[in-house]
Symmetry: C2
């Protein structure tokens, strides 16, 4: 029998996706659940509810609390934390590269490294040379990979993935969705989502 | 030495305040932290960010998830759950009565009973006769209590409490604030807030 599976939806621009990405694989392994990394873009989804930037920028009190909360979480988890500027980062290129990597077997490590680069070091992930650095450290050739990332095929793939997220009811990141249609939003729901997947598969 | 204290800010209209109110006292006792119930009104705070109703109504995908999430939480916690209609309920009278009760020693139990009435039974808490029922069950005389609740003094007290919440940076409910100025938002942060209060007092 194959293990229960769960989809882990995230946007590289999403702050709480950082600790969630770092936590989800060990937690899923422990729970005996197979997790699939699904990068997508929040921007088009936010646009449909009239938001042109992150709600953390639109609602400053909420944003201020989020940064402090994230700092506390990273401290609790032993993760480095540094706020990137500008926020949110443009995550489209990183997401496109991640899709290439997830097909080729190095995608998950690339995702973790991008999150660490962005929210651990505060570097700009919309800069192709920063992503090239990340790829080099993974011994992946940057030039052909970045070329594959911006191919029409791959662009369409990311667009389709974002549309699928929206159809599943995803409205924020990170989100976990289960095979039986349950949706769990937020870094705070990882454990509950994995338990659900284990009990209802 | 007096124990560390924490303020528990909530609005009776707030969905996640229901499980939080039910959980906070036992958790605080276990942590050796003194908790103070602080009812306030979210409405005036939401208005300053341009919202005229609950964000769960303004952003339907988020609202749909919240109801499902709350249902799961209540099930996990063994709490009855029934969605009140309309949502959000007008919570001003309940908050005013709670302030009277918190002064007189029956306030905390009243708060728990109001939450159970609203989100456990789906009854309307803006109805004075419903609140009178709750009071009667606590052996508190409804008529003089409801009269005290709508006295000018008590109305001003609730207004001042809401202003204090806003000055502390409270933007949602439930929220916990500590003596050293730390703020924790959400039912998901109760445990972390209490740990903070214990470690930083």
């Amino acid at each position: 029998m194959s293990p229960p599976t769960i989809d882990f939806w995230f946007d590289f621009a999403s702050t709480y996706s950082y600790p969630a990405a770092m936590r989800v694989r060990p937690l899923a392994d422990e729970a005996g659940v197979a997790v699939r990394f699904r990068p997508f873009l929040l921007g088009p989804i936010f646009k449909t509810q009239g938001w042109t930037t992150s709600p953390f920028n639109l609602f400053p009190a909420k944003g201020q609390n989020m940064w402090r909360d994230l700092e506390r979480i990273c401290s609790d988890e032993g993760l480095p934390f540094r706020q990137p500027s500008p926020f949110p980062q443009n995550s489209v290129l990183a997401a496109r590269v991640a899709l290439v990597g997830l097909k080729e077997g190095w995608g998950e490590q690339f995702c973790l490294d991008v999150f660490r680069t962005e929210f651990g070091q505060g570097r700009s992930i919309d800069d192709a040379s920063v992503l090239a650095d990340v790829l080099s450290h993974l011994s992946v050739a940057p030039e052909p990979t970045l070329a594959a990332a911006i191919s029409d095929d791959n662009k369409l793939k990311l667009r389709a993935q974002t549309e699928q997220a929206q159809q599943l009811g995803v409205f924020g990141a990170p989100t976990l969705t289960t095979a039986d249609g349950e949706l769990f939003w937020g870094n705070d729901r990882l454990e509950r989502a994995l338990l659900w997947a284990r009990q209802n598969s």
